[in-house]
């Protein structure tokens, strides 16, 4: 295992443990929702990290189209994969949060719907990649989807938000979240970001190895 991977892994591990302890044990329960609100410590960092991941996909997609070097494409692909995983976690934790809070596993609430669409868009991104045989082409096509998908998400969120909303409006934005809860939230957010970086590093390493094997098969 390479040095970077190990460092990130240990860092992520430590932060996740700290964050989980702070969020699930140390922080006080919410005045209104009680214990179940603790899932916010997973749910919110998860989606924010997913946004980070997809922003990286956007930047790398543009980079790949403009520059054409494989590194950009590999990073875009890896980031998209991790982003999709975090989006799935968001949806999953959202459902777990939703059931006791609203009584149902799923509602067509703006935020949740938007996240579901996000999941579909980047799932499509990954599917497209897997279907196109030529690596260069796959990267280019995916880059186009990565770019369009990003801007589309902005519009989708706006549109769906105006359509209907049930979600509590962003707790961080409103600033009404209690300081006692803010710290664990930030710690967990940091934990997720480092976790993202760790997964990214591992995935990149795997992709590089894959390409090396293919190059060797080719008889470079």
């Amino acid at each position: 295992m390479d040095r970077l991977g190990v460092t990130l892994g240990l860092g992520a591990g430590a932060l996740v443990v700290a964050g989980l302890w702070m969020g699930l044990v140390q922080a006080p329960p919410d005045a209104v929702q009680g214990e179940v609100q603790r899932i916010m410590y997973l749910h919110v960092p998860s989606i924010l990290t997913a946004y980070l991941a997809f922003t990286v996909v956007l930047v790398c997609s543009i980079g790949y189209l403009v520059r054409g070097t494989r590194g950009w494409d590999r990073l875009a692909h890896a980031s998209a994969e991790v982003g999709v995983v975090f989006t799935a976690i968001t949806l999953f934790t959202g459902a777990i949060w939703g059931k006791p809070t609203w009584g149902v596993w799923w509602t067509w609430d703006a935020r949740l719907t938007g996240t579901a669409v996000l999941f579909l868009v980047y799932l499509g991104y990954l599917m497209l990649r897997s279907v196109v045989e030529d690596q260069d082409r796959a990267g280019r096509y995916a880059a186009v989807v990565g770019i369009l998908g990003f801007f589309d998400m902005i519009f989708t969120h706006m549109a769906v938000e105006w359509f209907r909303t049930l979600h509590q409006s962003s707790s961080l934005q409103r600033g009404t979240i209690d300081t006692a809860l803010k710290l664990p939230l930030y710690v967990n957010l940091l934990a997720f970001v480092v976790l993202y970086a760790y997964f990214l590093a591992r995935r990149l390493r795997l992709a590089a190895l894959d390409e090396a094997v293919e190059a060797r098969d080719l008889g470079e």
Binding site: E133, D134, Q135, E214, D217, L218, G219
Partner: protein, 244 residues
């Protein structure tokens, strides 16, 4: 090989390679073509002839290597090359609902060419399609469709012709038109690379002979005093196991 300052400066290719998912379609191809030369490329199916033509036409980007066509770089100056090269592919690139005349006009229009008054009609006449110039391509035979693509070739003045199996679906008369046109093209200093299985006709046209097998150029020399039977024997020898 590359003489700058003249309008037709030849084709130079060094170490050209193209890989598709796991296999090399072309490997280490070196080629030189001077104005007036016609290179006829023989090789078994799958040997990479079409790939080579497509790279020279700038349809496909090479994985390795470099090349210059008429003074323009194969990778960096593709647009310039496109003005100087015409490819006759397997696919006819014809719209079935349009007439031969409309197809030719469209092909010229999207290149930004304005063919001279009557040039389209003349080209169609020359290939024997004058009477059906305004019929829908869908109603024509495959031989006639092939002739339309020949007429399209004749419409342009370019430095390099890339012909991929030009004899397919071409009857004797149309073949004669092709050969006459090629001769004029050669006399103007034009170059041609022709990929074919047709030993009889292809051999006749060549000023250079080449054999491509499994992506590698295993022969490339002037025709000189080579006879057809001798060449066929050489081909069989060099490509044994590669099939035809």
């Amino acid at each position: 090989m590359v003489q700058s300052g003249t309008s037709v400066v030849g084709v130079t290719v060094r170490g050209l390679g193209k890989a598709f998912r796991g296999t090399w379609a072309l490997r280490g191809v070196d080629l030189d073509l001077a104005p007036g030369e016609t290179l006829v490329l023989f090789g078994p199916n799958g040997s990479g002839k079409t790939t080579l033509l497509k790279i020279l036409a700038t349809l496909v980007r090479p994985t390795r290597g470099s090349g210059v066509v008429s003074g323009a770089d194969l990778v960096r100056a593709r647009d310039q090359i496109r003005h100087r090269v015409e490819i006759l592919s397997h696919g006819s690139a014809l719209y079935e609902e349009l007439s031969p005349r409309e197809n030719l006009s469209f092909a010229a229009a999207i290149r930004g060419d304005r063919p001279a008054e009557g040039a389209v009609a003349a080209a169609l006449e020359r290939v024997g399609l004058g009477e059906v110039a305004d019929e829908r391509v869908r109603t024509l035979s495959s031989g006639m469709k092939r002739r339309i693509t020949l007429a399209r070739l004749l419409l342009r003045r370019v430095d390099l012709w890339l012909l991929d199996e030009p004899y397919t679906n071409l009857d004797r008369e149309a073949t004669k038109v092709l050969e006459a046109a090629l001769q004029e093209h050669q006399e103007r200093g034009g170059m041609a690379v022709i990929a074919t299985h047709n030993f009889l006709d292809g051999f006749k046209l060549a000023t250079r002979l080449a054999i491509l097998a499994r992506g590698r150029l295993i022969l490339d020399e002037p025709r000189g005093t080579m006879t057809l039977p001798a060449f066929q024997e050489l081909y069989a020898l060099r490509t044994e196991g590669g099939g035809r």
